[in-house]
């Protein structure tokens, strides 16, 4: 059984150069690029017009963005290795987090918004308390020292997963701050990690071109998803947990059915590498879930499922 998606709208030249990252909330899609501005796009309208700009101080560019709707916060990570946190309400800067000894790379808020976690290029993972005035550091996890390229929090808040440049893939318990699993399956860089919505499965992908999926409790690899011909740059589960969205350097997006453990749709609208793709957050709205992708072609592309016969 295959699914059909089509692109409903696109904004070409959304940024003057590569769009490295996209994050979605129920109101916005947020994109970042090689300059210091974050752009916020209307997720609800048909045109998905730009509604806000946040001018950050990341003069060298921004490569990762994450957001938490409950908190009304966006965190942006720049090539300068610093994290800046912004309020969605008034676009003011809430905090700037930096460590002269290392550079942060990927960041993620916990589902309840209590914590912000980020990987560093020295392999470590740092956790901050968002409730405290200036984002107090409340935890540090160590790994073998290879740059952390990807991070995710499980929705139940119990786990953090990180993917690393040397193929390292780890699941930590947030309660005990201990390493639960060191997952095999990758010897090359892991660029994306994503927990399923019920926190039961973890998907990981990177330079091996294959997506590996694990049982979070046992650490067992339960299946693989092959089909991409180049590096996997991003992974995201839809809110029912039935489908996984992957974006790849091979210029395509793929939607995978978890039940059938196979690819049910491939989107090749882009003529250049996809850097990131996320499902839109439509839970609680009347809108059907779709997804949005960004990459080298500087275009923000929105997709929806084709309904009907």
């Amino acid at each position: 059984m295959s699914k059909q998606y089509f692109s409903t709208s696109l904004t070409p030249e959304a940024h003057p150069a590569d769009i490295f990252c996209v994050e979605t909330t129920s109101e916005y899609a947020i994109t970042s690029s090689g300059n210091s501005t974050l752009k916020l796009w209307n997720a609800a309208s048909n045109d998905h017009e730009q509604v806000l700009t946040i001018n950050t101080a990341h003069r060298l560019g921004i490569h990762h963005v994450c957001a938490n709707k409950e908190l009304g916060l966006i965190a942006a990570v720049g090539f300068d290795g610093e994290i800046s946190v912004w309020s969605l309400q008034d676009c003011s800067c809430r905090a700037v987090i930096s460590d002269p000894k290392t550079a942060y790379w990927a960041a993620r808020f916990s589902a309840d918004g209590e914590f912000l976690a980020a990987t560093s290029l020295d392999g470590g993972i740092t956790v901050w308390n968002t409730a405290s005035e200036d984002f107090e550091k409340c935890g540090e996890l160590e790994t073998k020292g290879s740059s952390g390229l990807a991070i995710d929090y499980s929705n139940d808040g119990r786990f953090i997963a990180s993917g690393h440049e040397n193929g390292g893939l780890y699941i930590f318990s947030t309660e005990t701050a201990r390493l639960l699993h060191s997952l095999p399956g990758h010897i090359k860089a892991v660029r994306a990690v994503s927990f399923s919505p019920l926190s039961k499965l973890l998907a990981a992908g990177g330079d091996s071109n294959v997506i590996t999926v694990y049982d979070v409790t046992s650490g067992e690899q339960v299946f693989n998803l092959s089909g991409h011909s180049r590096w996997i740059m991003s992974l995201d589960w839809n809110f029912t947990g039935e489908y996984l969205l992957s974006g790849s350097f091979d210029k395509s997006l793929k939607i995978w059915s978890i039940e059938q453990t196979e690819c049910v749709s491939t989107q090749t609208e882009s003529d250049s590498a996809v850097w990131a793709a996320k499902w839109t957050k439509t839970a609680g709205t009347a809108r059907p879930q779709g997804f949005v992708s960004v990459g080298i072609d500087k275009t923000v592309r929105w997709y929806r499922e084709a309904t009907g016969g």
Partner: protein
């Protein structure tokens, strides 16, 4: 000196150097020494103020010309070198400065040119390493406000060129380059460069690839035309930069391309040709070729063969992204390239683009052809 169109453009282009004669420069050095002696008589201390060329305070970014340039003499950071100094290091610095001034005076008086290497080898025990000589010579040039060439010091030749063109030397000889690889002579020796109707100039970072291109006669092709190929063997020395800057200025309609490895150092080499360097900020206007176009290789265009970006590579890339010209339109492609390298954590050497042997030649042919075609349809 601004480059203008005209019949005497070649002469004008080459004669940027100091208007001051040897006598005048010798006079400046003598003044420096006599001031020093006067100081000794007064205070018992021999001291010279030497410009520090590389200090951040001495350099500013020229937003129009898009290169680093030296601040006025009054604003340049100066170090005082004195004898006797508070430490042995100070006394040594003084000795280095004096001996160098001595050798420079000698060469100016005799009319014989020396290379920085020659100077170093005169007193290796004193100078300790080549870098010390390199720095003091350029600092003296800045202090006296003359280009290094006017001090009678020429660079040892490093750059290579190939293709069909000729150079008229100041000593009256004609150096014809006919498909044979030639060392680029010190710029001071060149009267004019005659490029004879070529379609483009290509500068290549690595010598091995340059030689490969030469032996396959890349400079004379049916599909992309005739060209001059140049390599600076990595970071270009002054003579190579002057050579390229001069061709760019005197032949504004001839496309100038640069091909470097897909790593931060390759991009830095390209930027050195294009925007100049910190060390030579005071001479940059005659050393840059802003119109040089980066033609590759793009880090995304490989099939395989990437290596991991090292910690040092990352530092270099970040440092480069912070340079003033990186936010300008002219540097857009290079900025993006550095960001992509950082994003992927990858770099690659030009020679592994493509899977067959000599794929790099195919790659460069394509890259140049696209650009030449675009110019025609313009």
């Amino acid at each position: 000196m601004s480059f203008t169109q005209g019949d005497d453009v070649i002469e004008e282009c080459l004669d940027y150097r100091s208007e001051e004669s040897r006598e005048e420069i010798l006079g400046k050095i003598e003044t420096l020494i006599s001031d020093l002696m006067a100081g000794v008589a007064e205070t018992g201390l021999a001291a010279i103020r030497l410009s520090n060329r590389r200090a951040a305070e001495s350099i500013r970014f020229d937003k129009e010309k898009l290169h680093l340039t030296a601040r006025d003499a009054a604003d340049t950071k100066q170090n005082i070198i004195a004898f006797p100094g508070p430490t042995i290091l100070n006394s040594w610095r003084f000795a280095v400065l004096m001996r160098t001034l001595d050798i420079i005076s000698e060469s100016l008086t005799s009319g014989k040119v020396v290379t920085k290497r020659d100077i170093y080898y005169r007193e290796t025990w004193l100078f300790r390493n080549q870098a010390i000589v390199d720095r003091i010579v350029d600092d003296i040039g800045r202090t006296l406000n003359v280009p290094r060439a006017a001090l009678g010091i020429v660079a040892a030749q490093k750059g290579l060129a190939c293709g069909t063109f000729c150079m008229h030397k100041k000593d009256g000889t004609l150096m014809a380059v006919e498909g044979e690889i030639q060392l680029i002579p010190p710029f001071e020796e060149i009267k004019s460069v005659d490029v004879m109707d070529i379609d483009f100039v290509l500068v290549i970072e690595k010598e091995a690839i340059f030689r490969s291109l030469c032996s396959s006669k890349f400079y004379n092709r049916a599909d992309i035309g005739r060209s001059i190929l140049v390599t600076g063997k990595g970071y270009p020395d002054l003579s190579t930069r002057q050579f390229i800057s001069n061709i760019a200025a005197c032949h504004p309609d001839t496309p100038l391309f640069g091909a470097v490895d897909s790593d931060p150092y390759g991009i830095d080499i390209l930027c050195t040709y294009k925007f100049g360097s910190r060390a030579m900020a005071h001479e940059n206007s005659h050393l840059t070729a802003l119109k040089m176009e980066w033609v590759g290789v793009n880090v995304l265009e490989y099939e395989d063969g990437w290596t991991k970006l090292s910690v040092g590579d990352r530092k270099k890339a970040l440092k480069m992204l912070s340079l003033p010209w990186m936010e300008t339109e002219a540097a857009m492609a290079m900025r993006l390239e550095l960001q992509r390298m950082l994003f992927l954590g990858k770099k690659a050497e030009m020679n592994v683009v493509g899977t067959e042997a000599n794929s790099v030649i195919t790659y460069l042919t394509q890259a140049i052809k696209i650009r030449l075609d675009a110019l025609i349809t313009h």
